[in-house]
Subunit: 584 residues, 2 copies
């Protein structure tokens, strides 16, 4: 919180302006995302007050805007929908407990520096998950646009539930929904250029375009109230309690906590990943840095604050943070000012919002989430890597067909398995000398020099249990092909580690080669790997030498050529010793 | 089956001799391991007839001796003990179905070349698992030595169950048990040297020592029959049906198959790993090779044969295969002759075996499995790698405390997680030029030349999702430390792959460095990695060049030093082009 000392009038003005804009954006969003999570509208507002203050104190990003976001709201609905029926007190309690649990987990992960866990969510899996979630959310909101009932956690269920309701469509609701959708789509796509063409300054035009949803809210509230649309079957948000949330912990039951542990963990990790990548991108633009482990604590504090003030899980939102940044927010104080803005809304605006059509909120959500759907990345990943694409496709299909939790788990597991499979069959190259240089390259890709007595083999992977038998097989295969062979040099430039299984395999290879009268040498062993090998008896057993470079190895064996098989096993060790302690 | 053509009298004699010795060894073992699996004694014999013939036809090892083995018998008992009570027909049916399922899985794995799955069992996990299984088996057999009832799948349960029975110890049984234990221990340790000292030829002495268990069987059968020990409370094997097993499939129920799927998979993988490592070791001694994928089919055929002839899961046994090899077995025909030997035993010896004390078999098992317990490897692994040791210790503790299935699963999962954790925080070195050479080495380990405008950074790991954010962080940290920096060179000599997540991170790093006016270059990119990068837009975006070697990169940037920031991004590409197509 160093920024507090340097705080002055200029910074205050910037922060205040940003806070006003974010507040205007956040009011409809917080109501909409609460609806998406199946929660009363005020819960969205509550989740946008205290959590923002907690993050301002404990977080490290200066511009991250914390609050309800679409994907986490969907995950919340999915998690608590399995425990209680929407609209019941149990459902609300479950949401609050979920926020507390998720907050607790994030803080614990921060304290134990477990932020690396988020690294196991690969980019294609996250991207696929967000795209699928966007589609799922948009489909789920269609019922509010059509004015019908329905539900479902998966795309087939949602569509099935909708298809049975098509006769019950409320035309007034549909008109409002389509009107707001069209307006928001127009605002997002054309309002800014139009305003700029009308000589409005670019930044102001941008902000005005971003404020379009609040305009849609105001207009539809006026329409609904003026024309008494509630009486014509248009679903309205209804009475929202006026005032600030009560502060306090909900009743905790062990059963509830157990049932929510896994969803809370998934929400924590997904929320953290989304938040940290926004935070890092924005920080880098101003040459600032964020500390991922401290971020965990900041987000954890925000979620605990949400749980203690009748809110639900929150995280740093992408669109809102970018707006905050662009609007000129300089310090986390902007977040505190936003919290004040939302608190004022909860105190004074709620009576007006009772007449807000749900279709307006649904349209807001649909326009927001469809911008998350990103088929361009799907295409790029497909072109670059089939295995990354497989993980991405699995994430999308399982998320759409079986829900968010299974989707993210399937994606992570598949990406891990594919990674392990790839490293279990590493790239292996037979190398030779590039003429006139000290470089050794793949014989299949370069015209290089080789000799029938020497096999130089480079394994392009760390040696560990999953590929150690592969290495045994590969060397045996190549040895069988080269009858004049006297020396095998294993070029270890790409070997970053050798685990106990691989060490066992190297011992075995050494034993087998020695039995066949073939020397076994290592070259370009990295420092940390060599340190490790020195602690074992392997180097004593080694029927050959260890060389600093591949060229030294080949030269040394060259000089000894024909002198006999025993010599190289001494000479290279001499060469090694005279070359000083082996390091690389 | 090329060996059939070259078959002649000499080979026949060798194979016959080996078969006689293995048969003598296998009779008590097959009875004992059936008892260990909780099955009637004859099931052990049945599992040692047809499976051996099937393996001789479909397997690739010339000397592997297939049949019941200790660890698989323990896993069988654990699996079917959860489904039916020992001694019931359902229990026997479950064992037969388990053999069929395991056989089917092995064949399928062989056809789809899934033998690599076994690679995920790291050496420390296998070794820990076998040690723990040995302890568990030995503890479980104590009740037969003491002549009490009892049971239990885990060490605490076994000991608890025994401790309640100490008052009921049968002293005659105990006398037989301790007698046989002492004799077998003596035979294993001192009989061979003693016989050699008595001028018996070494090989014969070895064989005689290996035949000690059959002697123990003969003597205790004679004692039990002669002194009517059954009447004195000594548990005997009892009547064994005389004759060959019926051939046919058991009644299969879907429930039973579902319940046995997971155990069958674990038994298949463990059995395959044990068998293949014995087979490879023996094959290498005679410069032969075995084909792991064909081995899967051979073992699968053996297990299907076991299931069709009232047997239970089998695999290649370590001790027995070594005996077969040492006794001079030349071809799989030795296995067929062994099968004939066991068939003869089933036809003619079974009436005699009715009087065999169970304590004799228990002593045979204990002496055999205690040789599997290997604390030396535990110590060596501890010294070499704490993370390998953690996986090993977890395997041992969970196997002893929670049973074989959880033990092996825990070991595999932990070793995978630790591997992923390690690669998610790779070793990173800042490198400089070794004076007077073209080599670049870690500045912390060598006295090397560096310059304040250039940061050369080598990442010793493939770049993939689990470490891509780590790379972003690391480069950002080093850049922040070097204010005069104009160029960052990422030395990719250890980068064997770049997945979609890492590509995204490289794009991000490039963007951030470009914003800061810093060039971003790659050196020593491997061929396959370069091919992949060329298919993307990354190289067009790259604010710098790609160099064949680190030295070329540093030299090129040297020449351009002071000319301005724009130059290097063109010049290196020129250098690259003039150097011909990039390959490494």
């Amino acid at each position: 919180m160093q920024w507090v000392k340097a705080y002055d009038g200029t910074v205050l003005t910037s922060d205040l302006l940003a806070a006003v804009i974010v507040t205007i954006m956040l009011i409809p969003q917080s109501l909409a995302y609460a609806m998406l999570a199946g929660l009363p509208a005020e819960v969205g507002l509550y989740a946008s007050i205290l959590p923002l203050v907690a993050y301002a104190i404990f977080g490290t990003s200066r511009t991250l805007a914390v609050g309800p976001v679409a994907v986490v709201s969907l995950m919340t609905a999915s998690a608590i929908g399995q425990i209680a029926a929407e609209g019941t007190l149990d459902y609300l309690t479950a949401a609050i407990v979920l926020a507390l649990l998720s907050g607790g987990m994030l803080v614990v992960m921060g304290i134990f520096r477990l932020g690396f866990l988020a690294n196991f969510l690969s980019h294609p899996v996250i991207s696929g998950f967000i795209t699928a979630s966007g589609l799922l959310i948009a489909a789920g909101q269609l019922r509010h646009i059509l004015g019908v009932s329905g539900g479902g956690d998966t795309l087939p269920n949602i569509l099935l539930s909708l298809s049975g309701q098509l006769g019950a469509v409320n035309s007034v609701t549909l008109a409002i929904g389509i009107g707001v959708l069209a307006f928001l789509y127009f605002a997002r796509k054309y309002l800014k250029p139009l305003l700029v063409a009308m000589r409005v300054p670019v930044r102001l035009a941008d902000m005005m375009a971003k404020a379009a949803p609040i305009l849609a809210v105001a207009v539809t509230v006026a329409l609904a109230a003026g024309l008494d649309l509630g009486a014509r079957g248009v679903a309205l948000v209804g009475a929202i309690p006026q005032g600030l949330p009560a502060f306090g912990a909900p009743a905790l039951s062990l059963d509830l906590i157990t049932a929510l542990l896994m969803p809370a963990f998934l929400i924590s990790v997904v929320g953290f990943v989304e938040s940290v990548s926004v935070g890092q991108t924005l920080a880098a633009k101003r040459r600032q840095r964020i500390d991922p482990d401290q971020e965990l604590i900041g987000l954890g504090a925000a979620n605990i604050a949400a749980g203690l003030s009748s809110g639900y899980p929150v995280t740093g939102g992408f669109a809102r943070s970018v707006v905050n940044f662009d609007a000129g927010a300089q310090t986390p104080a902007a977040g505190v000012f936003t919290a004040v803005g939302i608190a004022l809304a909860a105190l004074f605006l709620t009576p007006l919002l009772a007449s807000l059509p749900q279709a307006t909120l649904a349209a807001t959500i649909i326009v927001a989430v469809l911008s998350l759907v990103d088929f361009g990345t799907v295409r790029r990943v497909f072109a670059y890597s089939k295995s990354d694409f497989a993980a991405m496709a699995a994430t999308i299909i399982v998320t759409l067909g079986w829900g968010v939790e299974l989707g993210i788990v399937a994606g992570v597991l598949l990406s891990l398995l594919l990674h392990l499979y790839r490293t279990s069959k590493p790239h292996v190259a037979i190398v030779g000398q590039v003429p006139g240089t000290e470089h050794y390259r793949n014989i299949e890709r370069h015209s290089v020099l080789t000799r029938p007595e020497v096999l130089s083999i480079r394994v392009d992977e760390s040696l560990y249990f999953a590929n150690s038998r592969f290495l045994e097989d590969t060397i045996a295969r190549h040895v069988a092909k080269q009858p004049d062979l006297e020396h095998v040099i294993l070029m270890c430039s790409a070997v970053n580690a050798i685990d106990a299984s691989a060490l066992e395999s190297l011992e075995e290879i050494n034993r087998r080669l020695a039995d066949a009268g073939i020397g076994f040498h290592l070259s370009e062993v990295k420092g940390p790997v060599m340190d490790r090998l020195k602690s074992t008896e392997f180097l004593e057993h080694l029927n050959g030498g260890v060389f600093l470079s591949q060229h030294e190895a080949v030269s040394a064996l060259d000089r000894n050529c024909g002198i006999g098989r025993e010599t190289p096993s001494q000479e290279p060790n001499e060469a090694l010793k005279s070359g000083g302690p082996h390091k690389s």
